[in-house]
């Protein structure tokens, strides 16, 4: 998957959970990624974060630690 597309998809998820009340947004983003993203996609995301996380929402970067 192109990095732009992955960043876009991950940020969309973060945008939703950011709008939700509560304190556990990062955990909920991580939970969504664990439940719906196939390991290859999660690996790609983690690699992107490791390489600086260009373009990713802060919440995704935080969530990526728990994926």
């Amino acid at each position: 998957m192109s990095p732009e597309k992955m960043v876009h998809m991950a940020n969309q998820i973060a945008t939703f959970f950011k709008s939700q009340p509560g304190e556990d947004q990062a955990e909920r983003v991580a939970g969504h990624l664990r439940d719906f993203w196939e390991p290859r996609m999660r690996d790609q995301l983690k690699a992107h974060v490791a390489a600086g996380g260009d373009g990713l929402d802060d919440l995704v970067i935080k969530a990526a630690q728990q994926v």
Binding site: K5, Q12, I13
Partner: protein, 968 residues
């Protein structure tokens, strides 16, 4: 074939009533019926058929033929039994000599103006006029012509004085049925069926007395050019050969019938397949069918001819490269070719390098086997289905709020509703039989709110008008739904009692605070949504206070970047107003394909095992691991778009695609094509060489719904039986082919052990592993006709209404729905918004319906554009136009219409030569990756014909479809 006795199918004469019991005596027998029942129906209940012509139980009685007269003690004269309601203690005589004489006289008059060509008439053996002549004992007709002049009549084309001006020739303009006025008895059953059952009002009776005739539209119209939508209700109601299926004219009357289920849309209509041997004579909607109650649309009723179309592929084919022509081979060779390739790909690229797409057109049993193939033979979770691109947000959204992914009601519920919201759906085209039932309720006084960018037919059609049409800008669903909630919350119109007892009160408070924020008010969002605030407020008030409120929605809700959020917003609205858990209310997703509900139920999604249980749950995996003797991968697999991305990346190499045409139906055609082209083994299992097959290495010919046993599950969770009426032309039912493929692969690894011999065994396995299906067997389906899941110990007869006392998840959950603008934005290069949809006569990618006469109604996809936008671009009706987005471009003809708002254009995706999806983009729903079909920024400009891309595509398709002559 298992014996299945068709339950009582008699015509009871007039519709059933609900009411207090009334007891009366008919011909000496006591009979008790609900108040309001006609004497005719009461007699029928007692087993006595009163002769009749103008009455039939699909429409209200009319009382015009006077054949049904009876005598009632204490009443004067001979009232007609079809229009006389029962009364307590009434004493009725249906066979006195007085009424017999009257009936004979009536018949004599009818027959005097009817041709006596019964032996060669197409309705011979299936004509109520003939039956009634027999029943009343008509022996002669005393009317004779005066000397030198003929008897005035409607059936002789010429008489002694020349042309008979009363004679009208046969109208055979409709491809499926004819109208032969010379045989009409003007009973008006057809007119009433068109009004009451179908709700189209295409027919009228013109003229009076002896001059009266049935007429479709005005004087210049024939059936084809009139408003008629070819639903067949009038043909069904006609007692004579006047309105008659062309197939019956050609083949004669059927000798047996088998009850089965339509394989087109998610309404799931029940039909009697009427047969002569293994030839299908006609499909007749089945009165006992609980989804359709005896009604149908043009697709299920008439468009089955694709099953025998010459394009159908009947032999397996393989090729090494997609640039090679196809080679016909034996089943063994095709399957071992496929199995060897798939196993080799797994060796080389890993267990997760291959996957499947299950079909939402195939049966539950077939879908279950295909996902089992991935999980138990491929040993991964790479399974997905077309629901990805339509209702996956429904699964997520309703799962989060209510606890399960399904509509809450049955279709009968619409009869009890008072206010209906239709949002992002176009039922008169997409779900026609449901639309007819809805329109019937609307004509009886229920109110309608339509939320749709287009002025769909429901907004205003014969005798139906929406109280409110909120023509929102595509992509702003969440803002509109949240604004509705804002009005309900800030004006305190919500149902506090319901919310306190049924929902999580803390979550409600957080939600209420969120929606009450003035930035969600209709006034604040008007500029964005383009919905007039005052209208939106009125609509919200009406929904909250108008009685039973029901919401029906379709792909205009789900196919957006915020599809899942809108579904949650809809669930919020239903909970806010307490509209859950009883008849007449609820949240009702209108499912697209016939078995999309079933394919989701059966574990087609890469993260869920059958019954919507996540693969991460060890207790769920254990059930299937025990049943299948394998270890199940606990990680979610790839979804369709992810498979294509992984293919382009080189990590996904092989695909088994059953009954689905992703190249045509999925968005961003170029990306789909690139993904398919990057794979090394694409197996297409289908009836026809579809578009996806252009990129396939193995083609396995499929079977139609007429050729196999199984079940489909419709949009109301109803499990309906599909029954085999003829042997598969391709040799095998689809479930057998999947089993052969599984065994071919297992043989490679040492143990071919799939041994199903009948789909009922597959259902038994589903029931044993999936709690919501625990009580389902073929035996019980034969007995009950159909059942709505959950069906288990707690609900032995199934579940017509869900969440009655509590939600599946316990407390209903309100979820905050913040509007987020899609990134698909208009700008100077692409100033218009394209939204897509479908039409009545075609189905999905059109592979089936394009191969029937339905194409007379929709021969090509056209682009609807507002006159203002057309004028700006110098475009006229019928011009070729270029439609371009950042993804690609195509060309099609323009239809200039005010149905779309300025700034919005609309088209359908039924035809591969247009390929509207070359224009749609890869944006998708945040939660489920359901593509954003409904919003694409585009430009429209003049063009001289097909685009270069279309020409290249057509050339590639032609090359890819070559088949080598079979080697002897």
């Amino acid at each position: 074939m298992k014996d299945f006795i068709i339950p009582d199918d008699r015509d009871m004469g007039t519709p059933a009533r609900e009411g207090a019991p009334v007891t009366l005596t008919i011909d000496g027998f006591d009979v008790t019926v609900p108040e309001g029942t006609s004497v005719m129906r009461a007699a029928a209940e007692a087993g006595i058929s009163v002769p009749k012509l103008c009455a039939t139980d699909s429409v209200e009685a009319f009382g015009s033929c006077r054949l049904c007269v009876v005598e009632i003690e204490g009443r004067r004269g001979t009232p007609s039994s079809c229009t006389t309601p029962v009364a307590p203690g009434m004493v009725v005589h249906t066979g006195s000599s007085k009424v017999r004489k009257i009936r004979r006289g009536v018949m004599e008059l009818y027959i005097s103006d009817h041709p006596l060509d019964c032996l060669t008439c197409s309705a011979n053996g299936d004509c109520e006029l003939q039956d009634m002549a027999g029943a009343v004992g008509l022996r002669d007709v005393r009317y004779t012509a005066p000397e030198g002049a003929p008897l005035d009549n409607h059936f002789e084309a010429r008489d002694t004085s020349g042309e008979n001006h009363r004679y009208l020739p046969k109208d055979d303009s409709n491809p499926y049925f004819t109208y032969d006025p010379s045989k009409c008895i003007v009973c008006s059953r057809c007119v009433r069926a068109c009004e009451e059952v179908q709700g189209t009002f295409a027919l009228t009776i013109e003229g009076r007395g002896f001059d009266s005739r049935v007429s479709a539209g005005n004087i210049f119209d024939d059936f084809l050019s009139s408003d008629c939508v070819s639903c067949g209700a009038c043909v069904q109601a006609c007692p004579t050969a006047t309105l008659q299926e062309k197939s019956v004219i050609e083949l004669g009357t059927p000798e047996r019938s088998v009850v089965t289920t339509c394989a087109y849309c998610g309404v799931g209509c029940s039909f009697k397949a009427e047969m002569q041997g293994d030839t299908l004579v006609r499909m007749v909607p089945w009165k006992q069918g609980k989804a359709n109650r005896g009604h149908s649309c043009v697709k299920g009723r008439f468009a089955y001819g694709y099953a025998h179309h010459q394009d159908r592929i009947l032999n397996p084919m393989i090729r090494d490269r997609i640039t090679d022509p196809w080679r016909e081979v034996s089943w063994d060779e095709a399957l071992s070719f496929a199995a060897t390739r798939l196993r080799a790909l797994q060796e080389k690229h890993g267990q997760k390098s291959i996957g499947v797409i299950t079909s939402s057109r195939c049966t539950n049993e077939e879908t279950y086997l295909v996902q089992k193939l991935t999980r138990a033979v491929f040993m991964n979770n790479n399974t997905d289905t077309c629901a990805r691109v339509c209702h996956s947000p429904t699964g997520y959204g309703l799962g989060q709020t209510f606890g399960t992914s399904a509509g809450t009601q049955d279709f009968d519920s619409v009869e009890k509703t008072d206010v209906v919201i239709v949002i992002g759906a176009n039922p008169t085209d997409g779900h026609p039989v449901f639309a007819s039932r809805l329109k019937k309720r609307l004509r009886a006084g229920a109110k309608l709110i339509v939320i749709d960018p287009r002025r769909i037919d429901l907004v205003k059609s014969a005798h139906v008008e929406a109280a409110h049409h909120l023509p929102l800008r595509p992509g702003t669903n969440v803002a509109v739904v949240t604004a509705l909630a804002h009005v309900i919350v800030t004006e305190k119109l919500y149902d506090e009692e319901f919310i306190r007892t049924r929902c999580d009160w803390d979550e409600f408070q957080a939600y209420a605070e969120f929606v009450a924020d003035p930035r969600h008010s209709p006034e604040a969002t008007e500029e964005l949504t383009r919905v007039p605030a005052a209208d939106l407020r009125e609509a919200a008030r009406l929904f909250a206070t108008g009685g039973n409120g029901a919401i029906y929605y379709g792909l205009g809700v789900t196919e957006h970047s915020q599809g899942s959020t809108t579904v949650m917003g809809i669930a919020n609205l239903a909970m806010l107003t307490g509209n859950i858990g009883r008849p007449g209310v609820g949240v009702n997703p209108l499912r697209g394909q016939n078995n999309v509900q079933g394919s989701c139920d059966m574990g087609s999604f890469p993260h869920e095992l059958p019954g919507y249980r996540h693969v991460k749950l060890p207790e769920v995996r254990k059930i299937f691991e025990d049943a299948w003797g394998v270890t199940i991968d606990p990680e979610p697999g790839l979804r369709i778009p992810n498979m294509l991305d992984a293919a382009v990346d080189g990590t996904f190499k092989g695909l088994y695609c059953q009954g689905e045409d992703i190249l045509q139906s999925d968005p961003d055609t170029k990306h789909v094509a690139a993904g398919l082209a990057a794979m090394e083994c694409v197996i297409v299992h289908d009836l026809f060489l579809n578009e996806t097959a252009n990129y396939a290495h193995v083609f396995l010919p499929g079977s139609t719904f007429l050729e196999k046993d199984g079940t489909f599950t419709n949009a109301e969770r109803r499990i309906n039986r599909v029954r085999k009426v003829m042997a598969p032309l391709n040799g095998y039912a689809d479930w057998e082919i999947t089993q052969m493929l599984a065994n071919a692969m297992l043989k490679e690894s040492g143990g071919a052990n799939w041994t199903y011999t009948h789909p009922s065994q597959i259902m038994d396995e589903i029931a044993a592993t999936t709690p919501s299906f625990a009580g389902v067997t073929y035996g019980m389906l034969d007995e009950k006709g159909s059942v709505q899941w959950p069906c288990n110990e707690d609900h032995p007869d199934g579940t017509p209404l869900m969440h009655v006392d509590e939600f599946m998840r316990g407390k209903g959950r309100f979820i905050v729905t913040e509007y987020v603008a899609t990134d698909e934005k208009t700008g100077p290069r692409f100033p218009l918004l394209l939204t897509t949809g479908r039409v009545l006569s075609q189905y999905n990618v059109g592979a089936q319906t394009r191969r029937t006469a339905n194409s007379v109604w929709h021969g090509e996809d056209v682009l609807e554009i507002h006159p203002h936008d057309a004028e700006n671009r110098g475009l006229n009706e019928g011009d070729w136009v270029k439609l371009a987005s950042r993804s690609g471009e195509t060309a099609l003809r323009a239809h200039v219409t005010e149905r779309v708002a300025p700034g919005v254009v609309y088209t359908t995706f039924h035809h591969p030569d247009t390929q509207a999806n070359v224009v749609t983009t890869d944006f998708s729903d945040w939660a489920t990756n359901c593509p954003e079909y409904k919003v694409t920024a585009v430009q429209v400009s003049a063009s001289n014909g097909p685009s270069e891309w279309q020409e290249d595509y057509a050339a590639q398709a032609e090359m890819a479809r070559r088949i080598l002559p079979a080697a002897e």
